[in-house]
């Protein structure tokens, strides 16, 4: 089964994304910030990351830059942010995101992109 790591400091957002993804059959784990996400990603292999930008300790950009510099299997990443400006989008792609979505995401939209990037469960 494909495993997705949801990285967001807001518990409700994690639960919302979890419900959508588990509902479609994906396996899900969570992290509250970039450092915890790195710890988890270094210990387990994930097929995808869904990453918030603004988080304490290590933000989404920082997480992606770190993970992209590690010698581990590289999974695609969707960055989700409250910021709709193009500058943020460029920063996200520069840090190693595969896709940039503006919050709040709709369930169908999220699933379509996830399937596009990593296929079905």
């Amino acid at each position: 089964m494909k495993r997705i790591l949801i990285i967001d400091d807001a518990a409700t957002v994690r639960l919302y994304h979890r419900n959508i993804l588990e509902g479609a059959g994906y396996e899900v784990d969570e992290a509250v910030n970039g450092i915890e996400a790195l710890e988890k990603a270094l210990l387990t292999t994930f097929d995808m990351y869904i990453v918030d930008i603004n988080m304490p300790k290590l933000d989404g950009y920082g997480f992606l830059r770190e993970i992209r510099s590690q010698e581990i299997a590289q999974a695609p990443a969707i960055m989700v942010s409250t910021e709709a400006e193009t500058g943020d989008q460029q920063l996200a792609y520069g840090a190693g995101a595969n896709l940039y979505l503006v919050k709040p995401v709709k369930p169908d939209g999220l699933l379509t992109y996830v399937r596009l990037l990593i296929g079905g469960v």
């Binding site: 807001a10 518990a11 409700t12 919302y16 930008i53 603004n54 910021e83 709040p104 995401v105 369930p107």
Partner: protein, 207 residues
């Protein structure tokens, strides 16, 4: 077994006073080219209440993360209005990492942040309003629920409301129920808001 040696006198006081540690001396050290000197200056300035301004000036230019963290810890300990005003200024920075550090620092200053919370929550920049709600996440202050209620009642930006909603699910009481119901009407086309509001309502009613 004697491979493991006794320490002779590694731990001693010689390092304590290599440079002048008075206020002008520390300000000078804060501009040193050596990050470790800057970091120590930032830490030692915690006993100088007039240091806030110089620290924030340095923070804005600082490219060494460890010095930046030390400055923020010291500003948190200084906790005076100048320090807080400077922190607010940094909330508007384009530097995401700095902003998030500032948010964390402000969470630890309930008494100093409370008087300006109202104006932060009604700032014209929705990002600043979101950051203000982020500060409420850990702000140890009895007014948190009231502030959050005001946000979901009055704010028209979906992500400002979404951020407040996340927190209301945790700290909300029966007093928030009406505002939560109304929020669902305001954003009836947003599945996330409906989900989060329903979750908050369920938690409050079943608690």
């Amino acid at each position: 077994m004697p491979i493991i040696k006794q320490v002779d006198s590694e731990i001693n006081d010689t390092e304590k006073r290599l440079n002048a540690r008075d206020f002008p001396g520390l300000l000078e050290q804060l501009e040193s080219n050596d990050p470790s000197a800057r970091r120590w200056a930032a830490r030692d300035l915690a006993t100088h209440s007039e240091a806030a301004k110089a620290l924030v000036q340095r923070l804005k230019r600082e490219d060494d993360k460890s010095v930046g963290e030390a400055i923020l810890t010291t500003l948190t300990k200084l906790a005076d209005p100048v320090a807080v005003a400077c922190l607010v200024e940094c909330l508007r920075s384009e530097d995401v990492a700095l902003r998030n550090e500032v948010i964390e620092a402000m969470k630890n200053l309930p008494n100093e942040v409370a008087p300006i919370m109202g104006s932060l929550l009604t700032d014209t920049d929705p990002d600043v309003r979101i950051f203000a709600v982020n500060i409420l996440e850990s702000l140890r202050h009895p007014q948190v629920e009231t502030w959050l209620m005001e946000v979901i009642k009055n704010d028209t930006h979906v992500n400002v409301c979404a951020t407040a909603l996340d927190l209301l699910g945790e700290v909300g009481t029966l007093a928030s129920l009406d505002a939560l119901q109304n929020l669902k009407l305001k954003f009836s086309d947003q599945p996330y808001i409906i989900f989060a509001a329903d979750l908050a309502i369920k938690r409050i009613s079943e608690a």
